[in-house]
Symmetry: C2
């Protein structure tokens, strides 16, 4: 049995407490500085405020000021912060971690740099660890897995990626169950890029749902246009993975699975449908007040890097009509209008 | 304007009469020997019995004995027979076609041979045309497009494939509209294989819908397992395309889009859900009496070829756990049970 410390009481980090604890491990869920109320709720009710299922018996809860104690005897740490907590995790948490303690991140995303590169979060953290002269293995989880379905024990298949195979094996042993299925990969850039890239594209597929509602009054029978945008998304994701130097079918297929689940699973879909129905991004955000739109940030970052590198002649913007249209909607307030002729090359 | 003869009054062939006629072409829909009642209905009502939308004004209808007249002045023929009509089209129709008249097929499928090859329908027809010393260009349509959505004017994106680029261009000009978007490809084996291979895999994804209903009582929130099987389907389709000597991302992405739409669109899904809920294939077929289960036939053929070639040591059956499980259900009456551990390689 292992001792597992989950840092960040968001939905995904918290959901991992289920397989972790059901396997008999000691599990300590530690909130960030923003999670005080969530942790109080969990302590009081034995349930996360966003979940229907109670936590398994015995999960321990702590606020961030209890982190040092929580880390005592830890075998590995799960980083469950959102994209917005990546710098906080780097600056506030990494210095506290004992050297060598492995980290498993569920935070999906990419960060663009001023010169147009797209960095995975483990890459960003590795730089800091190097500066701290620490060697903690940085592993990550990619693949289609929504938190509420995990807590419901639906079958989910994810990939743990990292350079330290032994650490990955231990994590899989600690977390794998008969419903949480885990593959391993040493390609962190590939897996993490694939599952981050899907964000904008899920919005793209959702646009067609809203457009169909607008023009046909119902969405029930209209999957042709969803499937068409899904096809284009696959093509653009493949190009982006090539640019990341990480285009393997394994990576791409994990990204495609993640795209599939994201089209259905929640917040990104909500925004996409509203945009397709005719709202501007400003109006959609207002309507969804309080909803965290992490995925939109990632889409904007990827588009910014693509535009910058296209400007330098390093890639052809005609390879990314869907991404650039989504970015136009998000950053230039343009209306949703799928660029079909650019997909078929007769534009 | 062109004169287009559609042979076969099934749903997909008939749906193509919409863009064809809306573009101002002369369109003649000719039923097969099994389509007598459908053609009578179309003539009387100006509507296909399975469609909600009326045909555009001016579509002409004929029974198969009127085929010779219908072919008079034709610019190209659309073959709209089902998988079960492939031999009929070869034996009864190809000899009647004027030499050089191009054919555009919407029939999706593959035929296995005794030595374990998987032939596309254009390959089967080409053999006969060669014997007849005819040179008719054989083109085909692949990609996600359900007929009822096409008749509703939902945006659809398909690929016309064929070796005769000029013929493809003319077909695209005749059929392309502001809602029917067409790419061109010269890779008939690749496109046709990709869109046929999806059949069994759509059933696989649908299994999880039924399994979730069985174990959770509702399907609404359960996409993780769908996405997981979708991921595995992408991997196996890629391997099969490699075996076909036709694995390009373009082909694969068209197959993936087609898989996406098939998961939602109709008959294959119905069977998969019933199987997932616990019915045997015999019980499911009985419950769906009268429903044409074309896709199951194709899945069985592909599995038969894979088993045969695995037996000869030409491929590794461990690359196809999903396909072989689906085949076990279809041909050996086995219960639905997703082989998760074979996906993650820890089985």
């Amino acid at each position: 049995m292992k001792t597992i410390v989950i840092i960040g009481a968001g939905m995904m980090g918290s959901a991992l407490a289920f397989p972790a604890r059901e396997n008999g491990n000691t599990v300590r869920l530690v909130g960030t500085h923003l999670d005080g109320e969530i942790i109080a709720f969990c302590k009081k009710n034995g349930r996360h405020p966003k979940f229907r299922q109670d936590f398994p018996q015995g999960v321990e809860f702590a606020t961030v000021d209890g982190l040092r104690d929580a880390l005592d005897g830890a075998d590995f740490v799960i980083c469950g912060v959102s994209s917005f907590g990546v710098e906080w995790f780097r600056d506030a948490i990494l210095p506290l971690l004992p050297d060598g303690l492995p980290v498993l991140s569920v935070t999906k995303g990419l960060q663009d740099t001023p010169d147009g590169r797209l960095l995975t979060y483990p890459e960003i953290w590795r730089e800091r660890l190097d500066a701290l002269r620490k060697t903690n293995p940085l592993c990550a989880i990619g693949g289609p897995c929504t938190s509420y379905e995990l807590t419901a024990h639906d079958h989910s298949w994810v990939t743990f990626c990292g350079k330290d195979r032994a650490a990955l094996e231990r994590m899989r042993e600690a977390l794998g169950t008969d419903y949480y299925h885990i593959s391993l990969s040493d390609d962190v850039t590939g897996i993490e890029s694939a599952v981050a890239l899907k964000n904008g594209y899920a919005l793209g597929v959702a646009l067609t749902v809203g457009l169909c509602r607008r023009f046909f009054g119902n969405e029930e029978l209209h999957y042709n246009s969803q499937a068409a945008v899904f096809t284009q998304a696959v093509r653009e994701m493949q190009r982006l993975l090539e640019i990341q130097g990480a285009c393997t079918l394994e990576n791409l297929s994990v990204g495609i699975g993640d795209l599939y689940v994201t089209v259905y699973g929640g917040r990104t879909r909500l925004v996409g449908v509203l945009l397709g129905e005719g709202l501007s991004i400003g109006e959609a955000k207002e309507k969804l007040q309080g909803v965290t739109l992490e995925s939109l940030v990632v889409a904007e970052r990827v588009a910014r890097a693509v535009r910058l590198r296209a400007g330098r002649g390093e890639l052809d913007p005609a390879d990314f009509p869907l991404l650039l249209h989504i970015d136009d909607i998000l950053t230039k307030n343009k209306p949703a209008r799928i660029p079909w002729d650019e997909f078929t090359d007769i534009g």
